[in-house]
Point group: C2
Chain length 194, copies 2
Amino acid sequence: MNRKAELKRQQIIKAAYQAVSDKGYEAVTLQDIADYANVSKGVPNYYFQNKEDVLAHLLAQITERIYEKEKEAVEKETSAESMLQAYINTVFVSAEENEKFYRVYLDFLAQATKNNRYREINERFYQNCASISKQILMQGAKEKTFVVNDFETAGRAIRTMIDGYMIQWMMTGDHSQHRAYKQACYQAITSYLS
Amino acid sequence: MNRKAELKRQQIIKAAYQAVSDKGYEAVTLQDIADYANVSKGVPNYYFQNKEDVLAHLLAQITERIYEKEKEAVEKETSAESMLQAYINTVFVSAEENEKFYRVYLDFLAQATKNNRYREINERFYQNCASISKQILMQGAKEKTFVVNDFETAGRAIRTMIDGYMIQWMMTGDHSQHRAYKQACYQAITSYLS
DNA sequence: TTAGTTTAATTGACCAGTCAGAATAATTTC
DNA sequence: GAAATTATTCTGACTGGTCAATTAAACTAA
């Protein structure tokens, strides 16, 4: 019952993810989302308040999932360096997944400047990312692997470089450069932290 | 004659800039652009092929102007450190101008993943930025102020951090943090280069 | 049967681009 | 230098199309 409804909602969110990735945030229609989910046009409106509601759930879900993956990967490691490496590896999973995610995420970031709901969801994501960075940095400080004055500042710097490199990679439109950007990102961060 | 037409085109591009900043890339209509320019609906279509053409000219113009300002500011300086400082100062001009520019620019970046014309214009902008970074880094290497292995890599890293910090600042929605983000950006770059 | 779910049809709104004709500016002619 | 002619620019109604959201009808499974 409620379980089945939850599955349906998942189905719609997943379809919305694919649809936004293919067509872009604004271009996407409820019809598209319904088509990708193999349901009729009315269904998304039945399970969600409106189009924005579907998309807000989508943003919340993809950022939450990314965070959980990152957290899990980092917590498996023990040394600061391997934690950082695991973090970067999880962020730069693969060209295909990264392109899909950042196409959608970038669209939401652009919207977030005018939409408080998206901004809040993203704010939570940033804070989650900051908590991961802090974990890595504290380990690094303990080991004396990294030189850290202020955890807050350094944590922000890490996410800055990740997002910055990812966007630049996106703009090249060249999947084969994925590995190179990942390494450049890792080196920029370690260079910053030493 | 041709001069007058050019003024009119400028008027429309300027109006489009304001309109996109206020309403967002996709939400903006030709009617909005006409309204902001105080002309009737047909005028943008008279001076440009279509809506996308107006917006492509807008992107080309704002990126070109930013580049020219940055270049001019950097070339006034002589030491690597002051060049870098001048660069950052020009990027982080003021909260108001930065918000306006990045609101629009971020919208275009999101579009660029699906629009080759925008991607190419942005690519040119990236290359222009890279040439500025290179100028600073070469001076830094000569002075031995900065440690640089690869100009290409370091140049990209600089722009990465600038864009990353600017986006994070945008997401805070807090104008009063502008100065803090500027300094954080400067410190991250110098820290990376030493 | 009936509550939950899905489909199909409808409504009302919006928009890009077109175009015919109006208005204005430039040029020519006498 | 005024009138006539031509070129340029502007206007806004109109077209064809799209869309979100609503509604009512149909289906389904307990």
